[in-house]
Amino acid sequence: MAWTKEEELRLRKVIKDSGVNLLKENLVQGTWGNTAVRLDEDHMLVTPTGLDYVALQPEDMPVVQISDTSVWSDGKKPTSERKIHAAIMADRPEINATIHSHPVWCSVLASARIELPVMSDEMQKLVGGPARVGAYGLPGTKTLKEGTVAAMKGRNACFMANHGVFCAGRDMDEAFEIIRIMEKSCKEYIKQCTLKITGQLEYSDELLFDYFVSKYGK
């Protein structure tokens, strides 16, 4: 164990707060989504599987071995998505905090499986370029893990097809900045696409709804 008890306690609280903050900022629904923080080069703390963020306590977070995620201790059963968090941390030594979640506007692009172009200098700085879409795979599968790792190459965020978004930062604060800019950029992109396809100059939800009803309405 290459970390102190004090540091572990601090990071346990970071994980607990990250879940509550995802809910508060409307970046997740229910028990979905999960976060992780690195303890050392081969260990991380992750959120447990299937428990709501409000009820979770810092001591519930299990310590998971990055090189073999079947090895874990000191908490409740870890999220089945721990393999993705571990794979990113193994691949990217500079990454110390990861968030996987399903915010609304990111989920739209994940569902359409569309790469998000760089929408602002802030996005370029935080994400590192256009956000790619990882290959589709069922939750917990090797396909999903490998697709996410490939899409994250040289980036700090990517979409997971029909699933959500994955963000990685040097710490949890940075990971939150990244998920926020992803959500904001996705929303802006959809607005721009709506204006382009309708030929209008000013966006409103009604404009989008009318276009949708005209295309899909019965």
């Binding site: 629904q29 299937g50 569902s111 029909n162 696409c193 949708f212």
Partner: protein, 209 residues
Amino acid sequence: MIDNKIKETVMSYAAKIVAERMNGKGDRIAMRTKDGFCVNEASVQLDALKPEDLIELPLTTDDKDYVVIARLFAKRPEVHAVLYTHAPFVCAVARAKATIPAVLDDMTQIVGLNCKTCKSAATDDLVKGLKKRNSVLVPDGGALTVGRTMDEAYTCALVLDKASHAYVCGSVLGGNKIINCIEAKLMNIIYQKKYSKVNQENISKREGE
């Protein structure tokens, strides 16, 4: 008399629905009680709801304002909460009378393999529409969602809202890529039978049932 904890739960989730802007005219928030169910009076909208506006009705009620909810509780013993909400993107799909396909995997888990708009707002059609499903759209209306707990019904409404965003916005993005039905079914079974069971039991205690 309605248990105070149930009243608190209903009031707290009504506030969440309003905060998420999923409220609208005709909304209902209902929770099973020992003797029937607790629901907001039909004339009171969720943004103006007070604890004294909650009433308790038997499952045998035939009052047209509440009969769909009563029938759902009576037909589905596992259901402990029913919501009728009006999130704008959901209403757009209901206006188009469209079916939301499996656009997102959390949708397949909690909402179902798709979410159809019923052929009419008649009680029989709505109850039939919710057979083995957790949500259905009311033509030119909103969404009915159900759950084993209030939290689950609310989360179902939230996820349905997100799926509606994906489906509606997909129309300007060149369309959605749909999850194949076998994988969607598999995720639904795993969630309903395993993943959420412990969590729902814990939440159920917290909500006062």
